[in-house]
Subunit: 319 residues, 2 copies
């Protein structure tokens, strides 16, 4: 019987579920609403029944469940005060799920799950020191050093998206100003497009789109169609990211930095200015040593795969 | 027979040597010139003979030699292109020393040695996630996560002193601008005193001192005597350090941050503004969780103790 893990990716609207083997093959995937009536107890019951039904179609051995969740705490298996979820306070997720399953339930935040996914299935196989930046609505970071994820003493390490790149910069959802994620993220680049429209007169198809309608996907596609303003928006984003990566390298001296998320589909429009500024601002001892790569997890199920990888990593660390 | 380790701290002018037991008691210490005639081969021979002579006075069992050196690389045991040493290129220190001794020789940079010293003998006993900042001529940082020092893939992680706090800021010895250590270090605070003399008219005993004569020790002593300009220089230093520490916490979420070095003798004049700015700029999830402490290694032999601690850490990790 084949060993499998279940990966669960919890978003504000949907929860995605996949059954994944050690090689990263997804046997089946599905999703449920995160906003189910009846609150967290009803949700966890429905989720567990769904997972059991999915498993029942296969002749497999479940070895563990991995969960990626906003504000997920690896140490306690809790989701703590996640602003995008309807469940308030501290949610004892792993404990609740273990009432339905007799296998380990391992939970962490989405970016940490992406980093372990990169190590188990993706481009970081065999690496002991690397960092994954997830460019989604916000900017998450999962940091691996000495072959281990850095969770910090309380489980909340890796918030590079909330380091400050400009003390007088853009207002951030966290209540402060100038956080990296206000520039480098899907929402960051839409803010940048509007700033550039304000500052410049260059022609662009994006001038006809309201801020409410504008998405990072539209900007990415416009850049690929060589829209000059969209390209400039990626340059602006990459320059800020690149300067920050030079600082990141001075902390960790990683072998590679991976970029994950929809914005990375812009390819060289994002990578080139990022790499240029990273190299230009880097301390000489690190120069030409650090790879900057798009994530190798390009599957639409990448977040689920990241979650499922937590299980394999845990098993392999114990052996 | 008592187990002991030898700690060696290599500076540009002097090399300090100590024989230290597991509890952190220094049985004896001494020093030799780092600039001995005959280059590195003559130096390593003289150093080894000195260590053997020191050991011969005690009925002890040598279990290892720990070395703290500028640009020291833990993985290879080499000192690489250290600007303050007369030996050029890559020096195979550990290998050379092992021709004289049949025990492990463990080498890393001074700040990493200070971090392990804090964990083995000092205020970080039992901690798994903490950071030590050494405020000397420059600013070094030794980072421990998951109970392990972060060396990075090439052995050169932990250069937080060379993260950029102001892209248009002070020229740094590394060839870039605005590095943290141009503000927060012994030389940084002397530059700050001169900036404040230029900007303000407040009275100060330091106005009579040339830049060449001015030392961080003089500024520290002036602050303790309540010299208003010296106190302002510590405030300026602490504010820049505190803002940076908020970012550092967002990377590592450490249990504590320790400050080490002569500047820390200014006590609250440095710690108060640092803590204030660290808390004011910190992401809410970390607030009131991270201790900011002076190093508990206040001994004049602290650097030697840090070096010697590398041996105990290595032995304990193997067991």
């Amino acid at each position: 019987m084949k060993d499998v893990s279940v990966g669960i990716d919890i978003g504000g609207t949907f929860t995605k579920i996949g059954i994944v083997d050690r090689q990263g093959n997804t046997l089946v995937d599905d999703s449920i609403s995160t906003q189910i009536e009846g609150g967290f107890p009803a949700y966890i019951k429905y989720l567990s029944e769904k997972v059991k039904a999915m498993l029942s179609d296969f002749d497999v051995q479940l070895v563990g469940i991995g969960v990626g969740a906003p504000n997920g705490n690896y140490y306690s298996g809790t989701i703590e005060h996640a602003p995008n979820l309807k469940w308030h306070g501290v949610i004892h997720f792993s404990k609740a799920m273990q009432e339905y399953f007799d296998v380990p339930v391992i939970l962490t935040n989405d970016a940490n799950a992406a980093a372990i996914g990169e190590m188990v299935y993706g481009g970081a196989k065999g690496m002991k020191d690397f960092i994954v930046f997830t460019l989604g609505t916000g900017l998450g970071s999962g940091i691996v050093a000495n072959g281990q994820l850095i969770y910090g003493h309380d489980g909340f390490a890796g918030e590079i998206g909330h380091t400050i790149v400009n003390p007088n910069g853009r207002v951030c959802g966290c209540g402060r100003k100038g956080c990296l994620e206000t520039y480098v993220s899907a929402t960051g680049i839409t803010r940048t497009v509007y700033k550039l429209i304000a500052d410049y007169m260059v022609d662009s198809e994006l001038r006809g789109v309201s801020f409410n309608d504008l998405t990072a996907k539209m900007i990415t596609e416009a850049a690929i169609r060589k829209d000059p303003l969209a390209i400039k928006a990626f340059e602006y984003t990459g320059e800020i990211l690149g300067r920050k990566l030079a600082d990141t390298v001075a902390h960790f001296s990683p072998e590679a930095i991976f970029l994950f998320g929809g914005l990375v589909k812009a390819g060289e429009y994002l990578l080139k200015p990022t790499k240029y500024q990273m190299d230009a601002n880097m301390l000489s001892v690190y120069k030409n040593k650090v790879k900057l790569l798009p994530s190798a997890l390009t599957d639409t199920n990448a977040a689920v795969m990241g979650a499922s990888s937590l299980v394999w990593k845990e098993i392999e660390d114990k052996n």
